[in-house]
Symmetry: C2
Subunit: 648 residues, 2 copies
């Protein structure tokens, strides 16, 4: 499968990654960028004046002197950068970038210990505690990110050193962990190595890595005991990561064996990374019990714990899931990384069983919370993606201090920017899926692709200006005469969809979210029209934060109101239940967006009225309401924003 994106909307983002994010992040990792690093939370005790991530590798390799600096998982920033750089190089080679990436690889290789061990924190700072504090250490988490990066970089560039280093590290981990006596019987507090091992297995074919992944997942339900034993053995030593020492079992998803779990719990990124590996393993092993667990957790997230923007994580405390239908709009977390992870999970569920609803959620997360994680300049990032923000409250009410109204330049805990970079740089991987000798079109991103199916060469040209419109043309050219099944996703948001095959109007029959078209001829042209109406969205009334409120969407895009367009005090704007919408494309606004306009009302408080009164002390005035896509908010200075608006 070879895919090349041709659509302007995505080319812009991918160019930002190539031209802004990747060079910028490289400078940050090397401490040569002139930036302001922002703490996510006021109470954050970790030093964060610089990244120091590359320097940590130099010190670990003996090429520089000094102390380890940063989070215990600082290495993963380098790995995620390397993975993103690989996808950028896959699209188009770049000697300068290749040089930087090779340099990073060389440093990683040099930092690795003779036994294969690799983690700069422990190499530099506390070698005696290697694999001793798995609840907090993030050692396997970092290894997982390295495996992902190594597989990507090796696949794209053929760099063998990086793969050998990954294999050596995987073997080192395999030598230390497993069911055998004398080995450690536990997993990392932060799932991720499981994803990396599956990738390494795919690239090397080494079954031991698959087995190790199986082991890390199956042992998770017993990690409570394992962590407690590690604590005991470490008695009296300072925690590696203070805040995690007393985390609940659910924070780490160790409350029971993953195959028994039914709800999304604890730290959202951990949960979603675990689910990603579980789904992939369930498919690889044909493990029905694990597949059922994935389905249960998926249903729990999508039916009860996901924001309309595809954000997950309802509280900053533990960056975590909370309970069914608890989706506050202003104190939530909705970490960018968690929505990136939701796409990983959705992709693996799609591979497990091809249902369009998985791609629906993938699309929801991608076009809303993931893209909102990045400013339109590619140099400012959100960690937290609120559905409602008042910058005055964020400044003065510490319950909301994690909710920023403007994207900072860089973040002390810098997991999100490189995660965004690798997601956007690899978005071509999510458009098509080849499964059971059929070709699925999951995302409508204009592109050219070629496949080998049933020994035929199949070339596809997908033309669309999605998400500006829902008109898609698929031109298919194939080399032989087999029947090749195409499955075009009919998004959950779409109504009155119509299509043509080779100019002939076709009735669309939708099965499991897809329109099946069997292609036989050498040339076939499929037209699919998904009219993008402006839609009102209502939350289930069990979501107490959204009672009496409406959220507007158009196609896959969720819309929001900003005070820069609508005046301050967005709580006093009322949408009217029967007011028509007018949409217009504004090419110069926010890189070109479709704006939605409507007539509404505004409650206007009378001058000098008291805090409370027996009569309503406001007048109701007409208000022109202007909405913009959620992903583009926060790009015009600090101002209020709301996704859910009161409806009269």
């Amino acid at each position: 499968m070879n895919v090349r994106i041709t659509e302007d909307f995505w080319i812009k983002y991918r160019n930002l990654v190539r031209k802004e994010m990747i060079p910028y992040q490289w400078n940050v990792l090397n401490d040569i960028a002139d930036i302001n690093i922002e703490r996510e939370r006021d109470d954050d005790a970790i030093p964060n004046e610089k990244s120091h991530a590359i320097e940590n590798f130099k010190i670990a390799a003996g090429l520089s002197e000094g102390e380890f600096y940063g989070y215990v998982f600082q290495d993963s920033d380098v790995y995620k950068w390397l993975e993103a750089a690989s996808y950028v190089l896959r699209e188009e080679d770049d000697a300068e970038l290749r040089k930087k990436a090779d340099e990073a690889v060389d440093l990683i290789v040099a930092a690795q210990q003779p036994d294969g061990y690799l983690d700069t924190y422990f190499i530099i700072k506390e070698p005696e505690r290697k694999f001793m504090t798995l609840r907090e250490s993030h050692e396997l988490y970092c290894a997982g990110h390295f495996f992902e990066a190594a597989c990507a970089y090796y696949t794209v560039t053929g760099n063998k050193k990086v793969l050998e280093t990954a294999v050596k590290l995987a073997d080192c981990i395999d030598a230390h962990f497993g069911p055998e006596e004398g080995k450690l019987h536990g997993a990392d507090g932060h799932p991720e190595v499981e994803i990396g091992l599956m990738k390494l297995y795919a690239v090397t074919g080494e079954k031991r890595y698959l087995k190790l992944c199986e082991y890390f997942i199956s042992i998770r339900g017993e990690c409570h005991k394992f962590f407690a034993e590690q604590d005991k053995a470490e008695k009296g030593m300072e925690p590696i990561f203070e805040g995690m020492r007393h985390g609940l079992d659910t924070y780490f998803q160790i409350q029971e064996a993953p195959a028994k779990q039914s709800t999304a719990e604890g730290h959202a990124v951990r949960q979603i990374y675990l689910c990603t590996a579980m789904a992939e393993l369930a498919r690889e092993d044909g493990d029905k019990e694990l597949a059922d667990a994935c389905r249960r957790i998926w249903r729990n997230i999508v039916d009860r714990r996901m924001y309309v923007t595809g954000g997950i994580g309802s509280t900053v405390n533990g960056e975590a899931f909370t309970l069914d239908y608890d989706l506050p709009n202003d104190t939530m977390y909705c970490e960018t990384c968690a929505s990136v992870g939701l796409i990983f999970f959705a992709e693996n569920m799609l591979k497990l069983e091809s249902k369009g609803e998985y791609a629906d959620v993938m699309e929801r997360a991608l076009y809303n919370t993931v893209l909102s994680g990045m400013a339109l300049d590619g140099r400012h990032f959100f960690y937290v993606n609120p559905l409602e923000v008042d910058p005055r409250q964020s400044r003065k009410n510490p319950t909301k201090s994690h909710v920023k109204a403007v994207r900072p330049e860089w973040l002390a805990c810098a997991c999100c920017p490189p995660n965004l970079a690798r997601m956007i740089a690899s978005v071509d991987d999510y458009i098509y899926m080849k499964k059971d000798k059929e070709i699925y079109v999951n995302l409508y991103i204009a592109s050219e692709a070629s496949f080998l199916v049933k020994n035929e060469k199949v070339k596809i040209k997908l033309e669309t200006d999605y998400p500006k419109s829902g008109s898609v043309r698929l031109s298919i050219k194939k080399s032989g005469d087999s029947v090749i099944g195409f499955k075009l996703r009919i998004p959950g948001w779409a109504e009155n969809v119509y299509g043509q095959i080779d100019g002939v109007q076709e009735k669309i029959t939708e099965e499991k979210g897809y329109w099946q078209v069997d292609v036989v001829n050498e040339y076939t042209e499929i037209n699919l029209n998904m009219p993008m109406y402006v839609e009102r969205n209502y939350a289930n009334t069990r979501v107490s934060a959204d009672t009496g409120k409406v959220c507007i969407s158009r196609g896959p895009l969720i819309y929001c109101a900003e005070s820069v367009d609508n005046g301050e005090e967005l709580q006093n704007i009322e949408m009217l239940e029967d007011a028509p919408f007018k949409e217009s494309f504004e090419p110069k606004l926010l890189n070109g967006i479709t704006v939605i306009n409507t007539e509404g009302k505004r409650l206007e408080q009378k001058e000098n009225s008291p805090l409370y009164s027996h009569k309503k002390a406001y007048e109701v005035k007409d208000q022109k309401i202007k909405l913009i896509p959620y992903y583009a908010w926060g790009n015009r200075g600090e101002n209020e924003m709301r996704v859910w608006l009161h409806e009269k």
Copy 2:
């Protein structure tokens, strides 16, 4: 002034204090109660399995061996208990209670150091750090509570030891703090000693205590420097109170001199205790600048930062004020102590300038947030008084973990229960005020009182069943023939008030919130009728949490809905703008309350409907709505509660 409460509503509460709270708290302080102590917050690191407060005094006095245990301000629990016990004894002597109180006094006396110093934490644990860590130490805070207790106990019982001990401690503090060279130029991080010093000045007439109070208030704007110097001198030592070391200046109200301050900032109890002392001092000194500051902060609180229940403090982080109109209903703090403090501040503003609006706020805080701090059994207490709670969210969303739906038995940081006890036990002090040879009636609590005014003996009998109704009869008997001015408060909530004097209908002219009646005859009977309508209350639209919502009140009582009466998911209940209310007194419900009934609607979600949908997936059904007074909520097991309800 001698006042005796005769009203059943208050006698019940005062009997609870006498028969339940005081003996129960004594047992807690002596670690002989069989109780469950609850942490306010999950992240609270302070040990809290027992009180140990009396034991600390025994150890400090050399009468027992062991270590200090509890919060650094644990002593204040004993002092507040002693103060409450004094008021209980004032109402009716009780040999057994007197014995316990004397025993407590003897312990306090025995723990005092030869130089007058008194604070068990520092005596037992870190004597070398006496007065070295004022930001965190609470030494003067504890002293202030002791002064208040000593003055009360001395006044009621004539116990001289307790007053001598207080004087000795005040002299010790006076010897260490002040503008003179060689003394410490700073104040306590937690205001309170200022209030105590004013009381000690009132009882002893010793001007040095007044001067010291002035000093502590005026130096506050320079405490930032003072605290920084103390930090420096202490370099390397463990903080006494970790969480406070990095508090913002506003947390301690040291951002500028109190006389310059204009807004309520930081820790709500600290702010309100400071204001209390400022107002008292402004009156005593005739300090106009300080009086103006009090007026500014008062206006800021009452016009922009106070909940409709008289609660203050919009965030759990720092238990603090946040910003204007930021009044979230479900993540707020509204500490019981803060509303007790608001009554102190209001009382002192009343004494400074007799305007009925101060008494209005006093009444609002007293009948709502203060009373809600205590269960109807007198043995369970709220620290936090929410305006909206869903117990499932409190259990599973840590952003709301401080918001309990049921009152715990005791609290690790046990400031609120004894503060409630001293408030309720002294509520007779807030009914009347003698000022400028006039008698003010501020609270309508049935009582008998006698005054000496213009050398006349004036006896008052106030009859009412307030807050059940607003009918008040005042029978006045006086010994001479001077004209004595009576000022009867016309509450802000009241409309269509009418009155009679000796059976003759009188037109009520209201001035500054009072109806002035000049009484000449030996016997006069005044009837005041304040009809208690059920009223709708609307918040200023700048309060984003309350848009589209209504809160119901009747007289001084704010009402709320509980799910035990109205079914679960209170967010789906809609009040109707034009629905009539029906009130009925239910003598057996919650110790006898007036219930408000009305017809409303309920949004009922259709079975198996998704999380989000383009059409409203609910039906609107009729719903009988039943509301109860806010103070009585949470007495029927764990259930949902809301003060602000959606209105259609």
